[in-house]
Structures are given as structure tokens and as C-alpha cells.
Point group: C2
Chain length 213, copies 2
């Protein structure tokens, strides 16, 4: 616990609360997060963080929103560097899995833990939606490029499918349930590329046509 002779300036307390809360989540898990504990660790009055975050969920929503921004930026950067649309989709998939592996606690806050109420924390919901639409735009661009019928409907379906597959890979490849199988390491390492190639094969003309859905 840090004790200060002079309290932090208002702007400092807001940012310091976000940083300390993230540190608590990473070290001890989301269940250990409380505004009073954040204040105690910052060496400021118990009331200080409440000036910026009326409730624990307001602080959590700020953190989760920043994670979605960081995550969306990572996906966007992967696409921006790849002019070929098929390769861009794969680069984004690799970027998704790299983010999940490099920032497991951020990933868990976005996609495993319960989120604060979306109808109260609109800014967080908007940042989450933006991250999904980075993925969806890349899928839509591919369907438009290949002149697929109903590109918007296909973009919705394929973006959901791609997201679910990447989430499944990001979580399962780290989990004990796959380790007990004693599968070949090369097989596990090739799993993402195999999944992306399968999805791409189904997306392009001549692949899966489920327009009857």
C-alpha cells in the first residue's frame, strides 16, 4: 500500500484507479476488485475514486471498454497491413489468437466474465460493438470482392462463425481438456491455420451455400 503526503490530483486519481484495478484483476482475479480496496492501495481517501466511478461496475466498464479498444485496434492493424482480402482475414485471425494468448486477463474480461449492464454502460457496449465490426467488415469485404449474393447476410453469419471458432481455439488450446488427450504438438499448432483455411474454403464461391436458412 502506497502512502502519499500529498493526495494525487483529480485526473491522477481517475487514471491511477483504472491502473490499480487492472493490477488487482490480473493478480487476484475480478472477484477481488472493489473501489474501497483500490482507494486503500492508492493511499487516497475511500471516497476519492467514487468521484470518478459511482459504482464498481462503472470502473469495470471503463476497463473492459479499454480492453475492447485495444483488441479492436489489434484486429484492425492486422488487416491494414495486408492488401489481399483472404490473407487479411487470416492475419486478423492470427492477431485475435495472439491477443488472447498475450493478454489472457484482458481477453477473459471481455469474453468470459460477465459484463456490466450494457444499457447503463453504453460506452463499453459501443466499444465492444466496434471490435466485432472490425471483424465483420473484413468478412463483408471478402464477400463483396467475390460478388457473393446477399453479402450483408453472409457477413453476419460468417463473422459470427469466425468469431466463435477463434474464441473456441483461444480458450480450448489453453485448457486441460485438450491437454489430457496427448495430441501431437504439430497438430495443435496447425489448428488455427486449418480452421481459417476451412472457413475461407466455405466462404468463397463454390463453397458452403446455405441461402435456404
Amino acid at each position: 500500500m502506497v502512502q502519499r503526503a500529498i493526495p494525487l490530483p483529480p485526473e491522477g486519481i481517475r487514471e491511477a484507479s483504472v491502473r490499480e484495478a487492472m493490477a488487482i484483476i490480473e493478480r487476484e482475479g475480478l472477484a477481488s476488485l472493489s473501489l474501497r480496496d483500490v482507494a486503500r492501495r492508492l493511499g487516497v481517501s475511500h471516497q476519492a475514486p467514487y468521484k470518478y466511478f459511482p459504482t464498481r461496475d462503472h470502473l469495470l466498464a471503463e476497463i473492459v471498454g479499454r480492453c475492447f479498444d485495444e483488441f479492436g485496434d489489434a484486429l484492425e492493424a492486422a488487416i491494414a497491413n495486408e492488401p489481399d482480402l483472404d490473407l487479411a482475414l487470416m492475419a486478423m485471425g492470427a492477431s485475435y489468437l495472439n491477443y488472447a494468448a498475450a493478454h489472457p486477463s484482458h481477453y477473459g474480461l471481455m469474453f468470459t466474465s460477465p459484463l456490466p449492464d450494457k444499457s447503463v454502460h453504453l460506452d463499453m457496449a459501443e466499444k465492444a460493438s466496434r471490435a466485432f465490426h472490425v471483424l465483420r467488415r473484413a468478412v463483408l469485404a471478402l464477400h463483396l470482392h467475390h460478388g457473393q449474393p446477399e453479402p450483408e447476410r453472409r457477413a453476419d453469419q460468417d463473422a459470427l462463425h469466425l468469431w466463435a471458432t477463434m474464441h473456441g481455439l483461444a480458450t480450448l488450446l489453453q485448457h486441460d481438456s485438450i491437454k489430457v488427450l496427448g495430441l501431437d504438438q504439430a497438430l495443435l499448432q496447425a489448428a488455427p491455420l486449418h480452421a481459417f483455411m476451412s472457413i475461407a474454403a466455405a466462404m468463397i464461391p463454390g463453397g458452403c451455400d446455405d441461402s435456404t436458412l
Copy 2:
């Protein structure tokens, strides 16, 4: 807490411990599980459950093993009722998602919570492996039916891909991160069928060929 004039017979204590432990996990979560608490709730001596489960992990491994048996049986039943191999794979996928939705705490014990050490709890590991191989056999049968080259390698890759996709759907479709997007309900309901059709389209001849991996 149940108090008994006559302690349960040995066989009864083992089964009663498993049932009470599962009830604790479902009501309060895995973190609340302890052998002493199981004994207290059964109204037996604190030592009684230890005669059958030397550690908490031994009790947990027994429970997780039973979940994998139940899950593997559900997957196997879906295949057994469907002679068409492509439809059987979809039926198994539907059965996977139905199991996850109907038994969320069992599903979480197998695929979200950490598992007991596989090198100590070999029976649990064997039951987990059997459930995976129900899925893998269905994929292998499809590749053999279509005369695909390297059917065993393809079965490994496609079984992993199918598992990751179903796990992703099973977890994401219930999570707040998809609810904040305000997507059309019909789109979400069609997501599993779309995923299975995409995967099937990539598996059959003329679909994805990543033999260069």
C-alpha cells in the same frame, strides 16, 4: 444439514459424497467444494468421505469423469440414430450444444474449470479422451466414406476444428459480449447450422485442401 441416527453404509457414503459435491458445485460454484463440507452436509464424520476420496481432487476427478461419460454418451446417441454420415455429424453438433445448454455446470467442469492432474487421475483422463474420440470417429467415418487422402490426419484436424467451433458457439452464444451487439435473434439461432454447413462444405472433396500443412 442432514443429521442421521445411523451413519450411511460405506457404499452409500461414496455415492452420497458425489451427489452432495455436485449439488455444492451447482449451487455455489467449484470454489466452495471441500470434503469436510461434504461430510458436514451429509451429517457423517469428517473422516468418512476420505475413505473413498483421499483428496478433494479425487472427488472432483470422479465427478468430472462422470460428466465426460454422460457427455460422450449424448454425442454417441446422436450419431447412432442417424445413418447418413453428414447428417450424423450435424446431429452430434446439435447434441453437443444441447448438452452445454442443458447442463452448464457439467459443461463448465469439463471445459472451463481447471481439471485435476491427468497423470494422477488416469480414469478421468481416459473418459475425457473417449468423449473426444466419439467426435473424431464420426469425422473419420465421413473422410473414409468420401475416400479422402490421409483420412487419419484429416480426422485429427477436423475433429479439433469442429470441437473448437462448437465450444466457441456453446460459450459465446450465452455470453454478454454477444448480447451487447444487439444481433438479430434469427441470426443467432441459425449460427450453429451455418457453422456445421460451413465445416461440412470444407471437409468434403473439393472443399479445403491444406495437405501442405
